[in-house]
Symmetry: C2
DNA sequence: TTCTTTTTTTAACAAAGGTGAATAGAATCA
DNA sequence: TGATTCTATTCACCTTTGTTAAAAAAAGAA
């Protein structure tokens, strides 16, 4: 069974397999490129083939890392994707990355045509809700060591893919605290 | 516009209006009664007419308050409702409460029969995702005063409905810290 | 490869918030 | 109503984690 978190607003479903009727367009990002920036409205869902990305937002000048995208994960500015309002999320490539993207309108078209697609879409939504819920429980833990443990057990590979300073931010701790925890 | 959070896994939609075809059964809870307990699978969606409830879960013996339900809000053990697996959530009435409930299977039936219902259902899901996202940003704030401010501005009435010690837990701070903040 | 930039580690220090305890105040129930 | 239980406040103390700074290590670019 594939791990679920902390992929970016993700699902254990491989959308390229499931939504074959949809046109998936390949794209290449280099380190520092953005998939989306605050103010834009999310029109795509992305599937990461290789590389690493992070989603973050600002509240009162403070940056908060909220999700990662890496191999086999879905990433997008999900709230904007669903409500079609401008997002406050930035998604940035942390290194050279290859992804596929599909248009929201293409999803909707396929959804109307096929009951099977609709049920897959529902599965995707369920997975999304599960991910959000897991995330909520993760960050509620008071003890930084517990927060680390949960994510480390669920998604050990993220520690290979993503610089620790971003993982620390994702776990709402300083890079120094994460370093202390990993070396003890 | 109605506030969105921290209702319990909620929506600004009034489901009694929108899902008229569904049979909504009234129920009365007294203080201390449970809507659902860990281990059970959520088969209902509840709409709160009056009263106050809280949803909480345990991680390593520690209790975490995750949502509240009160007047005009929806509450349920949402992840379980969607994935049909046993939940780890408890939902408890904090005082005498009146609610309506509808069966999941009735939702599904209506969804198949009417495109309009399906689109309302989608709206409900969007709202749910927005709520989860707001919640994530809320609890990520480092400063307890900021976490309080966000919820206080969005849902001032929760401070009338719910004992502060639960609000403190919801805001991941001690009751003492909340008291300090409110009296300064 | 070498150079440069970025990331990680370590340490000393400060400060924020939790804990425990005791009191005061509210709400609930018989 | 009065009694009891539950909730909120206050204080002193202490632990934990963030901050600042500097050095070491690693990764990326040329």
């Amino acid at each position: 069974m594939e791990q679920k978190n902390p992929k970016a607003f993700t699902s254990s479903i491989n959308p390229l397999e499931v939504f074959k009727e949809i046109e998936w367009k390949a794209l290449e990002l280099k380190r520092g490129d953005f998939l989306i920036k605050a103010g834009q409205t999310e029109k795509y869902l992305y599937y990461v083939v290789s590389g690493a990305l992070r989603a973050y937002t600002y509240v009162d000048e403070e940056e908060h890392t909220i999700r990662f995208g890496y191999k086999n994960s879905i990433i997008a500015a999900i709230p904007s994707f669903f409500n079609e309002q401008p997002t406050d999320i930035y998604i940035e490539a942390l290194r050279k990355s290859t992804l596929y993207r599909a248009k929201k309108i293409d999803f909707e078209k396929v959804m109307q045509e096929s009951v099977k697609s609709l049920s897959y879409y529902n599965a995707l939504l369920k997975d999304l809700i599960a991910t959000f819920y897991e995330r909520e429980i993760d960050i509620l833990q008071k003890d930084p060591a517990k927060r680390l443990k949960r994510v480390l057990e669920r998604s050990p590979q993220v520690f290979q893919e993503v610089p620790h300073k971003y993982i620390a931010a994702y776990l709402r701790m300083s890079a120094e605290t994460l370093s202390r925890l990993l070396n003890s």
